[in-house]
Symmetry: C2
Amino acid sequence: MEIIKGGVTAAAGFEAAGVEAGIKYQNRKDMALVYSQTPCKAAGVFTSNMVKAAPVIWDKEIVEHSAYAQAVVVNAGIANACTGSEGYACCKKTAQAAAECLNIPEDAVLVASTGVIGMQMPIDKITAGVKKLADAKKDTMEAAQMAAEAIMTTDTVDKQAAVTFEIGGRTVTLGGMCKGSGMIHPNMSTMLCFITSDIAISRELLQEALREDVKDTFNMISVDGDTSTNDTLIVLANGLAGNPEVVSRNEDYEKFRQALHYVTMTLAKKMAGDGEGATALFEAKVIHARTKEDARILSRSVVSSSLTKAAIFGHDANLGRAFCALGYAGVAFDPDQVDLYLENEDTSLPVYRGGVMLSYSEEEATRILSSPEVRILADMKMGDAEAAAWGCDLTYDYVKINADYRS
Amino acid sequence: MEIIKGGVTAAAGFEAAGVEAGIKYQNRKDMALVYSQTPCKAAGVFTSNMVKAAPVIWDKEIVEHSAYAQAVVVNAGIANACTGSEGYACCKKTAQAAAECLNIPEDAVLVASTGVIGMQMPIDKITAGVKKLADAKKDTMEAAQMAAEAIMTTDTVDKQAAVTFEIGGRTVTLGGMCKGSGMIHPNMSTMLCFITSDIAISRELLQEALREDVKDTFNMISVDGDTSTNDTLIVLANGLAGNPEVVSRNEDYEKFRQALHYVTMTLAKKMAGDGEGATALFEAKVIHARTKEDARILSRSVVSSSLTKAAIFGHDANLGRAFCALGYAGVAFDPDQVDLYLENEDTSLPVYRGGVMLSYSEEEATRILSSPEVRILADMKMGDAEAAAWGCDLTYDYVKINADYRS
């Protein structure tokens, strides 16, 4: 597997665009298109929230029932959630407009939205935007960049990743982009993430690989504990790499899973590190847990603790808070058996062992806490399972961004 | 039932004190004593956190196995959590010192701590503090006030409540105090709360009443989603009211439950409204849910949503966030059937109905959001159950307080 530059246009036959449609934001790109020159197999995972945005309902239908998908139209600014039948009609009109411009069937067009909940979409601006996107689409890295920028809301950087790998002597490429900064505590997938590949693979295995992968990637990040109404993760595979089609759980399937994991993991960590107001990427890692599920629950609990996150922002080595968050996760363990470490890229500082906080160097701890990536590692000494979760610190800017998001 | 002024000394035979012991804070009271002139039946509920502070372990033993209890010694500044056998030994030494000064058995002394996790207690200062407390204790309202102030950490106000009611022609009094501002998301009880009564009641019914009551009071408040290692709620009943002992679930027991509920509810709401950095008390009420448990889960989810809390701080009527929080609570419902209202003391503004956000007056919504008490009401239209949860807004000051709590 080789890591390459690029995003949704890295794989053969994919084009993208990002344009200004003036939906809610002014003077910035706010609509994006991902388009494949040939029909794609599509797989998707969506929010588990009972309150699902209209585009989530639309996309689930397409992923489950359409013969194939060929385009995704995305807008930022309005989430098209809590918008009732008018909101769903807007998804249909968006797909119709794209189908006409791109000369593909209406039920091959996926749609996705992110932004304010409860506001209706300005459908005229959306359909005008679709036309601009269809005219602007290109298969270049610049086009992928424009698309990645257009889907941002409170994100401070665009988020892309791509890799290549070999199957049956053919080079297969996989690339993706995502957005997400607040309302991030996915439970099924994440805010918005689009991955494209030229791999030839069966629809069943594409969906299976995605469903398994999110358990350790997008479902393990948290910015604020709020699971969005719009979480959407879609993979499109058009088969243009010309590899022998992957139809069984063989070595080729494993290669694809590894490539997919690299791209999703990279994007998920970019999302956590760019959490609203964040100054640091915060990783909680749990090793030697009894089961994988225990390890996931424990690491998610630590990475979601507001008090721990505030302490990281303050570079304050108040690590009892992280241990406390292990304790209320809902997993049984003996506190006297657990070891806790504070880590960054080059240092591992033991902070808790044998039932007591150790007297570690405050200076050393503050140095680690001032790193751009801070890790808390818990060794449960109960079994062989491990998991990691990613989030960010809790800052003044998180409050600032969210106290007045709509204006 | 009559609401009266006072706290832990309101009931007959109870004394209290609050003194400066210099444990961690300087120039303020940081140790408190609650003492009964005669032996008490004791009931308690404690944190469900796997990581339990030493005093929680000590108190559970006493509540479950001692013949009676007669005193509670409390300190603020250090939580005595993650302190291992040294921490437990400190509880024992504290109880021994109190037993000696007060001339009561060691196993009749409860202890409680709140503050930083992972630091060892200065036992000499604690035992010196115990002596000062024993000398200072009085049965006055001023003494209760001193005790209530001594147990504060980041609290901005002391929290007390008391009531009287009649049983068999005798006046029974019930009073209490609590502290709690951060690390508040109780699951069994709350940070620290002490309730005293002169009622004569069986130990079994005292414990049962407490256990049932917390489900709708202390377990329904949340400041930051962090369940503490030290949550402790204790009730002491010395029987000095001279009422016929309550030994069955009769009318007298119901009177006691109502009085207990008033005191715990009042204290719980005071705690939520004084959440770290809070500018408003935030109530989420759910009516017409299918089951009581559903109603509790839904209301807790809304009151715990960081995004909704930040919007309340900003007086921004971004109510899709509250609806979103209902959706990810883990309870099944049809979003098209639910009605949502934004309320304060004198106004109820419909904001969501029939699957769409309504076009409400922003001015009116901002006015409601600027109230000291803000309520979001969800009508699920599924059954007869209801519940309410209490929290506060998420502010700059929450981050400020917690980014550098130890210094």
